[in-house]
């Protein structure tokens, strides 16, 4: 099933007022721990998971994810290992999995070859924060050919015209960056945020995910009605660092 319809089907569940998507950095602290964290996340009720293939220059990420990327690479995790791990995981759980990474990882692997593998693995979408549509001719052609959805990013600085343009390239859902800056800092879900979300809604028909700075149930609650998917990134990385793997399941279950 395509990502978009999978999301719509999940949203049709009256119990679920909003979907949850979590983020993990592959290889941090290790693939073995990733495996346990994902199990916890799925049992806690997560609807989608984005798996970040680490890159040495994660320009759009904040300190916690930067360090996770770097430690994963220092620990020796390879793109090959990430793909093999993703294959195992996506065969184990019924929820959709996406890859998040920077363009060089695809470029160096061979863009088409990467698409081929991702399709075999069953990956549903790609989030590539440093690939604007202007640079992605080959990439976007391949997303159609291989049936993998390119998730486009809206930012508070995006004009309505730009949102419409991005929306034409995007499929699956739109990732709305909640505020300026990088991942990991707290976001104020205030009036300004409200009008930003209205602008997002008005300029695309795709479901809206909101990420950056979501760390508690209150944050998730305040997104109900404004967004379709709440994205939890840095918070679970910190949770594993501070309280261990077993804290993840209850944390996720408590968000909704």
């Amino acid at each position: 099933m395509e990502l978009n319809s999978q999301i719509k089907a999940a949203l049709a569940d009256p119990e679920k007022k909003i979907l949850l998507m979590t983020h993990i950095v592959l290889g941090y602290p290790s693939l073995a721990i990733n495996r346990q964290v994902i199990e916890q996340m799925v049992s806690g009720g997560v609807d989608l998971i984005e798996m970040q293939i680490p890159f040495s220059e994660p320009m759009a990420d904040g300190p916690v994810i930067v360090k996770a990327n770097q430690d994963a690479i220092d620990n020796g995790v390879t793109v090959r290992q990430c793909l093999d791990f993703a294959k195992e995981i996506s065969a184990t759980y019924p929820i959709p999995f996406l890859f998040m990474t920077y363009y060089n990882i695809l470029f160096k692997f061979g863009v088409e070859k990467f698409f081929q593998e991702a399709r075999e693995i069953g990956i549903k979408g790609f989030i590539i924060p440093d690939l604007p549509p202007e640079e992605g001719e080959e990439f976007f052609a391949l997303t159609r050919q291989y049936g993998i959805d390119p998730v486009m990013i809206f930012a508070p600085t995006s004009t309505p015209e730009r949102m419409q343009e991005l929306s034409r390239f995007g499929r699956g859902f739109i990732y709305c960056v909640a505020r300026k800056g990088v991942t990991g800092k707290q976001t104020d879900f205030d009036e300004e945020f409200n009008s930003y979300m209205q602008r997002c809604r008005a300029n695309t028909d795709l479901p809206l995910a909101v990420g950056f700075g979501i760390s508690r149930k209150d944050d998730v609650d305040s997104l109900i009605g404004r967004a379709d998917i709440a994205v939890i990134g840095t918070r679970t990385i910190k949770l594993v660092e501070e309280q261990g793997v077993d804290a993840v399941g209850p944390f996720i279950a408590g968000l909704r």
Partner: protein, 412 residues
Amino acid sequence: MNQTTKRGYYGEWGGAFIPEVLYETFRELNDAFAAAKADPAFWQEYVSLMGTYSCRPTPLTHAQNLSRHFGGGQIFIKREDLNHTGAHKANNVMGQGLLVKKMGKKRVIAETGAGQHGVATATMAAKFGFACTIYMGEEDVARQRPNVFWMEKLGATVVPVTSGSKTLKDAINEAFRDWVTRMDDTHYVMGTVCGPHPFPEMVAWFQSIIGKEARVQIIDQFGRLPSRVYACVGGGSNAMGVFQGFLDDAGVELIGVEAGGKGLDSGRHAARLAGRDASAGVAQGYKTMFLQNSDGQMTDTHSVAAGLDYVGVSPILTDLWQQGRVRFAAATDREVMAALDMTMKNEGIIPALESSHAFVQAFKEAGEMGSDEAIIINMSGRGDKDIFTIAHAFDDPSWKEFIRKKGKEYGA
């Protein structure tokens, strides 16, 4: 320059791989730059600023003793060390400063490796009344301490960067992270001809002042064009600056000299185009030849010269290299010290460690040329900033004694 149809590309290199949050910022910057480039009054204002605040035109010095020593081509040195703040970096920074004023922004940020670009940016910010933050890899903070001191005294905040390899590329990432947070009031003064479009084109434009002057000067002093022009290549801004004066002269050979570090076979160097370790990639907002592993992870680079210690290289130079218009060579740390020593003793001139790379290659080749031929070495900066590194490399006993005494004075 071989600008192909796609905007911001040089052959297959360049582009603008930027996060969406900066899309509008880049649109504004492209507009402001296009307007400046199309306005002859802007260039005049720039030249007049550089003539009154810096030392432009910088001299072209005939190095007679070195020329005699090698017994070949006549060696001319383009003296970017005599710019205000001691390097070519001032050219780019003052130009971008004028652009920042036009855009109405109030804060500037920059990355720096050797610290020369940071000092130049802090100077420009002081003069124009901008707030200023400089990102600098922790390793570079340690090895270029005098420049850190001056940046702080000039009123800038210096942020040591502890991620990644703690050098120039990491400082660039950190500057981008600042920019995506505060793009409304902040301009990122990129220090070299790298990064997303329009930076390569913009920085090359401001630095072209070097080549424009050098071309007039060599014809004036020597009567004709040089046979070869040498420049060191970190990101490539001083090289692009001087090369642009001669790009259309097919008879002038252009040579870029990269950091050979401990040697091209050692794995500890920063030679992207002269070595065999680099491959095509996309990082830091642009496509070029990067020193990276087979997964696309950037590798650690090494050079005695902080300003050349970088994984990528200008997309414009990569294109010129691919076309065969610019030849690339590398100089090792050891060769650099020898060339530096020789230049000081013979000419009374102290090149920066970065610039000394260009001297190495010129010295290797000068002897094989006729005495009726001229070469130009672009001396991108002066060596004062490198006093600790150079003294250490020379293992200078009286300097060590001085440091010991100072240490005692501070209770170390």
